[in-house]
């Protein structure tokens, strides 16, 4: 499976032999160039094929450029196509030789066969050599007026290519005006679509310098034009429909009647077999109704089913992209999807980044009625072979517990996790129980009974260990052996590598001391001594602080370290709602898949040269790097 890295670089071993073969080809082509013998086309075709296949492998065959051009005088269309392909690939590096091709391409542009006219025009406009653009204007003009739509389709895109090679030539030849005429009048919808594509790009490019272009660009969003496109939308190809829908998103309707008209017109697009059309339509619907809260909710209901179908029907690649969009919607309006939670159940052989998205959605849609079932499902994943997912699902159970008011059943489940005797399950569950207790102190009795049975030796992960220690400190009055466990942990101070754990240990010992002074005194002394000698600045400072506090006044110290606590009502979310709104505005774009607004990954300013590659590392695990919306760490 693992591909050898060298093959894709360049033709390393075959390069020398490739060179001699290229010279070989060169001489053979030269022989054929002038020949008019019957059957010469077939031998040419074999040679051309060889040239193209070398080109494909990555061998530089630009040296046969002259011979290829000489051989191009033929009526065989496949030969022509191969020649066009070759020329298109090498013209840019051989601008002088490219001049040689102009002649035969221009001749082909006048061929009887519309297909040859179109193909020749396409190659001519793909030459991409700046000093040859003068030869392009004439054929393009003719192509735009051609009576065959195939040629016009090619010519319109040709204009766009010309624009990118030489802006002034394109504008001076007045092509935008011709395109505009075609846009409004051509019978063929593909021509119209291509005009739209080309004009959008051209006017976008010109808008910064020219007031006219700005006006033209705004005119694309005028009511008559939008309606002209919308009324014909069914005639457009599916890709062109995406283009039109993308334009409609930017249109601002005058009143709500207009909004409903547009939505009625587009409703059946949601049942299109092409996922790109469905998503583009969904975007139009969502954006049109942003200001109408009730309708906006109905839109969610309406687009829900098509999206869910796309997830289950498409290839895994499609379903991932759709799932990312669904994820966005679920996060915005979980209640709309609350009845569909079964769609987000993970299948065994799904890749883990899909499972991760699904887990987040399951967490979001859980409500009073579905919680039990969802948690049951999540618990099955906890025994999953895929350990990261097992961890995620335990976290998901915890998150659901933190959302719900009725946590009775969930607490039981979490406590069961603690009894599963798998270290990573125990670790995750401990962290959760800690968070749960911060929100629902009333459960402390049940939880502590179970947590008390866990031997601290079995907990190795710093986060889990810190959680366990926090609970030992916080509930030391309920756990008979809390001081002794803390004491033994303190004795192993030097073996504890995580500063976080040591900080928690310090605080826990302090808390325990205030509740059960005689039993803890020894541990406290040892902990403070070890803390003062600690090389970690924070640990050292905190130990010093506690020490001085105790020296100053023990009651004050108790008030500082062990104040009465209020239950936490909401834990902080890591992604701000502003960012989420930005992503929503960019529905149906890459941002949704990355779960980041586009400015964060397309703007150069927002990413340093290195930051981007860091992101890539985290992409491997899932799509998002910053959403493990975990709880803010307790101090």
């Amino acid at each position: 499976m693992a591909p050898p890295a060298q093959t894709n670089r360049s033709p390393s071993p075959s390069q020398p032999s490739g060179k001699s073969e290229v010279t070989d080809l060169k001489s053979q082509l030269r022989q054929l160039a002038g020949s008019r013998l019957p059957g010469v086309d077939d031998s040419k075709r074999e040679l051309f094929k060889k040239v193209i296949s070398y080109m494909t492998i990555g061998i530089d065959v630009s040296s046969v450029f002259g011979e290829m051009v000489m051989c191009s005088a033929t009526s065989d269309i496949v030969l022509k196509k191969m020649c066009y392909l070759y020329v298109g690939n090498y013209a840019k590096v051989n601008p002088d030789l490219a001049l040689l091709t102009i002649n035969f391409l221009q001749r082909d542009c006048k061929d009887e066969d519309p297909m040859i006219r179109g193909l020749a025009l396409r190659s001519l406009s793909s030459l991409n050599v700046a000093n040859l653009v003068e030869y392009l204007v004439g054929p393009l003009n003719a192509g735009l007026k051609d009576n065959n739509s195939y040629v016009r389709i090619v010519a319109v895109i040709g204009v766009l290519k010309l624009y990118h090679i030489s802006v002034t030539t394109c504008i001076d030849a007045d092509f935008p005006a011709v395109l505009k005429h075609l846009l409004l009048n051509d019978q063929d919808t593909q021509v119209v679509a291509n005009c739209l594509l080309a004009l959008q790009e051209i006017w976008n490019g010109e808008a910064s310098t020219s007031g006219d272009a700005m006006k033209e660009r705004e005119a694309l969003l005028s009511k008559p034009f939008i309606y002209y496109l919308l009324n014909r939308i069914k005639e457009f190809s599916e890709w062109a429909q995406c283009l039109v829908l993308d334009l409609v998103v930017k249109y601002v309707p005058a009143d709500s009647n207009e909004i409903f008209d547009i939505m009625n017109l587009l409703e059946d697009r949601l049942q299109h077999a092409n996922g790109a059309v469905v998503l583009a339509t969904a975007k139009v619907f969502l954006h049109l109704t942003l200001s109408m809260t009730d309708v906006h909710q109905q839109v969610y209901e309406r687009i829900k089913a098509p999206l869910l179908t796309l997830v289950s029907s498409g290839s895994p690649e499609q379903s991932y992209a759709v799932l990312s969009h669904l994820h966005l919607l679920v996060m915005r309006a979980p209640y709309v999807f609350s009845a569909d939670y079964k769609h987000f159940y993970c299948q065994y052989n799904e890749p883990s980044y899909v499972k991760k998205l699904k887990l987040e959605m399951l967490t979001a849609v859980a409500n009073e009625s579905s919680t039990y079932e969802i948690v049951t499902e999540l618990c099955e994943y906890a025994a999953n072979v895929d350990i990261p997912i097992a961890r995620e699902s335990i976290r998901a159970v915890g998150k659901i517990a933190l959302q719900q008011y009725d946590v009775n059943a969930i607490v039981d489940r979490l406590l069961q996790f603690l009894e599963m005797e798998k270290d990573y399950v125990t670790a995750e569950a401990l962290v959760l129980v800690k968070d749960l207790l911060r929100k629902y102190p009333q459960w402390s009795h049940d939880c502590i009974a179970v947590v008390g049975n866990i031997s601290s030796q079995n907990v190795q992960e710093p986060k889990a260990k810190a959680a366990l220690i926090w609970m030992l400190g916080e509930y030391s009055q309920d756990m008979s052996d809390a001081p002794y466990i803390l004491e033994s942990l303190t004795e192993n101070w030097d073996e504890e590598h995580s500063a976080e754990v040591r900080l928690h240990l310090l605080t826990a010992v302090m808390k325990c001391f205030f509740k059960r002074p005689p039993e803890t005194q020894k541990a406290l002394g040892a902990a403070l001594a070890a803390g003062l000698a600690d090389f970690h600045q924070d640990v050292h400072d905190r130990a010093l602080f506690y020490y001085r506090l105790l020296q100053h006044n023990v009651t004050v110290a108790e008030r500082v370290v062990n104040p009465p606590k209020q239950a936490v009502s909401v834990f902080a979310d890591t992604q701000s709602s502003e960012v989420k709104d930005r992503i929503f505005d960019e529905f149906n774009s890459l941002s949704v898949v990355y779960q980041k607004p586009s400015y964060m990954f397309t703007d150069k300013e927002h990413r340093g040269p290195f930051e981007f590659s860091d992101e890539l590392g985290s992409l491997a695990i899932g799509t998002e790097s910053d959403v493990p919306a975990h709880v803010v760490e307790a101090k």
Binding site: L85, S312, E380
Partner: protein, 415 residues
Amino acid sequence: MLQCIFILSDSGEVMLEKQLIGHKVDRSICAWFWDQVISQGDSFKQQSVIASPTHYLFQIVREGITFLACTQLEMPPLMGIEFLCRVADVLSDYLEGLNEDVIKDNFVIVYELLDEMIDNGFPLTTEPNILREMIAPPNIVSKMLSVVTGNSSNMGVTLPGATASCVPWRTTDIKYANNEVYVDLVEEMDAIINRDGVLVKCEIYGEVQVNSHITGVPELTLSFANPSIMDDVSFHPCVRFRPWESHHILSFVPPDGLFKLMSYRVKKLKTTPIYVKPQITSDAGTCRINVMVGIRNDTGKMIDSITVQFQLPSCVLSADLTANHGAVTVFSNKMCNWSIDRIPKDRAPALSGTLLLETGLERLHVFPSFRVGFRIQGVALSGLQLDKLDLRVVPSRLYRGFRALTRSGLYEVRS
């Protein structure tokens, strides 16, 4: 807007490179891509959208062939992915299957196709029927023809009529001596059965596939006996929306040949045709496994191609599995495959055996999920029934055929 498409073989070779705009994308992007694949493994290969340091990549993998497209601009992701899927579909249709050799042998055709399918990075014609008219597929008939006539061009002589017609998926001048239309209901059942044997999710995803060979421009209508059971439908562009809205009738002018007319979902099914009951008990370093398979609801039709697949947890050292019916294979990656095919009349198939666990492990902590495969011919398990198929103008000879098939989709039983 896509800037470049690469077609890569499984060994990492660039089989084809199609630059779409003036701005050339360097091949080194493929090297970067493979470096990532090697370092991150298969989960990376399955991601459809990837950010590289210079480009955004779309990838799909079909039959070991990777289709990779690059862009530098924000664009609808589904557009890139859908397009690549179409390219893959069209190629496998043209070349009658996809593999490294067939693409290398026919790379000229692949170039020709890509040339028509996308221009300047924007998808153009992806309708297979139209492409077929512009570029002839490299089949035996055309090879024969080229040998006999000496004309070796595989190009259509004329431009397709459909590019100018308002029914873009069909040409106007199709003629058949025998007019035939076949309608197939193909359903896939997705189900999850949890540890306690409860059916937690059971859904059917179905497609109506039509294969039509009819002269001229036929107007077809297709109706169902019970359309209300379908939850969500999506249509081929040829289906008219109004008749479906008002009467739940499919009215359409079909493309020529085989195509997917519509797809639908049926939610919340109550039963599955077969049951698979795994039992795993473990104690003192060994583990007993026992799996029973049987028919739950007799649909009256033969269920065949039954398979049960499961992945043994990594803590299992060795497995000794036997079955009273069918063949059991344990692969080196600890994947087990039990192929039963048909359930015999006289006894229920059962697989049993022992698993030896890693030393030091008393009990099994992670349990495998069993993936079940089956196929039932002649019945659509959702209960969807075709009512009738009509033509507005019935040609002299018309043969109509209906078939149904249900097979398992993602059907898993957890233990």
